[in-house]
């Protein structure tokens, strides 16, 4: 399982890639593996305002429907339209083609409170042991 070093992570298994004042958001390799085959992603509308820690999207797999929590606050400026026809991209390429939205951050310093790859891996190991 892969956790790229240039990303930041949440305890709810979302990732963030900082692009200037913007943040690209998706779910991690661990999350897509646990969910199983993704069949639908409810992507927020353009211009939607999202709050860090609040749910802003839903990922539906053959097992369950799961909330996706916003890692940072801001406004949705890009949405991954391609997930409408190809939700499997979340499984196949979670950090690439499987991104969900790009958020214009209200407070880019929120990223600092997210985990780096090493911390996230350690967090997951502690969870798996439970």
């Amino acid at each position: 399982m892969e956790f790229p070093g240039d990303l930041r992570y949440t305890k709810e298994h979302e990732w963030v890639r900082v692009e200037g004042t913007r943040a690209r958001v998706g779910i991690t390799d661990f999350a897509q593996d646990a969910l199983g085959d993704v069949v639908y992603v409810d992507v927020p509308e353009m211009g939607a305002s999202v709050q860090a820690g609040s749910t802003f999207a839903e990922v539906e797999s053959t097992k369950s429907v799961s909330d996706v929590y916003a890692p940072v606050s801001g406004t949705v400026v890009e949405r991954n339209e391609s997930l409408g026809d190809a939700p499997e991209r979340v499984n196949e390429d979670p950090y690439g083609e499987g991104w969900i939205v790009v958020v214009e951050m209200g407070d880019p310093s929120q990223v600092d409170s997210l985990m780096d790859a090493a911390t996230y891996e350690a967090f997951m190991r502690s969870q798996a042991g439970g």
């Binding site: 646990a34 199983g36 639908y40 539906e60 053959t62 369950s64 939700p87």
Partner: protein, 488 residues
Amino acid sequence: MSGAPVRRGGPPLPSTLRELSRPGRRASGFATLDVPEAGVPGDLAREGRPGLPEVAERDIVRHFTRLSQMNYGVDTGFYPLGSCTMKYNPKVAEATAALPGFARLHPHQPEDTVQGALELLWTLERSLCEVTGMHRATLQPPAGAAGELTGLLIMRGYHTKNGNPRSKIVIPDSAHGTNPASVTMAGYVPVHAPSDARGLVDLGQLEKLLDEEVAGLMLTNPNTLGLFEEEIEGIAEAVHRVGGLLYFDGANLNAILGRVRPGDMGYDIVHMNVHKTFATPHGGGGPGAGPVAVVERLEPFLPAPVVAHDEATGRFRWDRDRPDAIGRVHGFHGNFGILVRAFAYVLAHGHDGLREVGERAVLNANYLATLVRDAYPLAFPGRPMHEFVSTARPLKAHGVRAMDVAKRMIDLGFHPSTVYFPLIVEEAMMVEPTETESKETLDAFAEALLRVAREAAQDPELLHDAPTTTPVRRLDEARAARDLRVRW
């Protein structure tokens, strides 16, 4: 359902009525019209024929009989779906509901002509209140989830009357998905309470979530992991301290029948799934019944009408004069035929019999859990009640998952257990044998599960390919959901 149908004595049957259709073929004939034709007004008439399949009665009967033979139910075999309580439905209840005096009633009949039906509803209500330790009940809600919504609207009615409807309902993270859905429908915001390492509500964490905006807590007990919430009295006290109400999701009431009552644990509102607790048929999603019972201070908010009994005259009547009632939640008086079945079940068992139902359900689940726990460890250390949650995690080393185990069990002639629920357990397998199964069946099921665990180590491909003995092989569930096509 499609696939490669098999038939003895004749050409293979097509899978759909559409494929059976032949122009001009009919299931019935009409006599020549000997009265003036009353046509449909032009603006209401179809422009063309509706394009229905053209088949003979024989084709319809064979088609649907064949489909029914491909089906699997409690009348054909063991059905240990955890959380669903797929127990055998005694046929005496069916016979009772089919009695003409019940089956041919009309809901608009005058009260004087339906005294027996009203007495049945009254007595069933009293029985349900006795089982749950509650004061009064409504029998209107047509299903468990409808009961949840009804209970939450009662909660809203109560808080509104007290000046503030409040805004939040707390739900454990292990709860059924219907709980947050019902909360949202009732206009509240669901707040999740975390489970602790025992799989129980973490009282310390719960207390931090409770404030004056919390309308109540919804809690199944035993909970959705099949574990008894040991701190229920402390939980009830904490919820009541902030003026909230405690809601008992009756999904697992069958585990504690006759042993402990929700009312004695401090609950204020209880819904019952009569198909789980009192063995009415699950049906194809209905008709069902989800009665809701409440403590005395919530009685005014029950949906109207309720049955009233005049002890002096012995007469029963509908009491419609209930100004604080939340309104109707179903047409007429609920699904009466299902309530008759539930009543027959209650009467057939009596107090001691119902207690034995609960005890045997718990015994069966613990017996089965003990037989399989070495291969499929329990997800939590506590002693399970009427169902248990195991994990197929040890098999992941062989590249085998809970879904593969489930599919292989079909090959071995068993309906699989629930898998991937509750969501908080990795590779969850949730097994609920119910009280109605024999030791022989439980032994055979355990043996099959253990065989699958051995196969996972020796020949994982066998599991990946399963099922191999069914009319259709492994369904591509992801593609079915992504590429939805509905045909008939």
